[in-house]
Symmetry: C2
Subunit: 89 residues, 2 copies
């Protein structure tokens, strides 16, 4: 537990700021629970993260992957069955 | 380009369905652009993914990490500077 980080908000370490935006995503209930499980795992290691931070860490990890690993990971994902009401145009 | 996958929606391979939910997350504009960049990388390899699918792949990858790797990745994330209007209660 020696790796505690401050919960305090701070700007990026480079001092540059990127505008903060909000994005909505569809996921399985299981994915939402996965986020919570990841938060708990981080918390037990002294890193208090919110849901958005967990999502962002995941994106950074993907970005650092090789094309091949990215493709393999993406291929494993099951697609969602979306039953959307049709919007009349 | 031999690993093309169908764009067709399908249920999970195990046949189980988890309810589909929608969740909103705060991120830097740079993170949103990262999602698009990842979609392009997948597309060039024949995998057409939407934004939500990219996010979900990232979560799965995190879930499979060891505690130590997860902590290291999480520690590298810069926190957002959130300037939120106070909601009167």
């Amino acid at each position: 537990m020696s790796s505690k980080v401050s919960k305090g908000r701070r700007q990026t370490s480079t001092g540059q700021t990127s505008p903060v935006v909000r994005r909505a995503f569809s996921m399985q209930e299981a994915d939402a629970q996965l986020i919570e499980a990841l938060r708990v795992r981080c918390a037990t290691q002294g890193m208090l993260m919110n849901q958005s931070e967990v999502v962002r860490v995941g994106l950074r990890v993907l970005a650092e992957m090789s094309d091949e690993e990215l493709r393999n990971r993406a291929a494993k994902l099951e697609r969602l069955t979306v039953l959307r009401p049709k919007h009349p145009k």
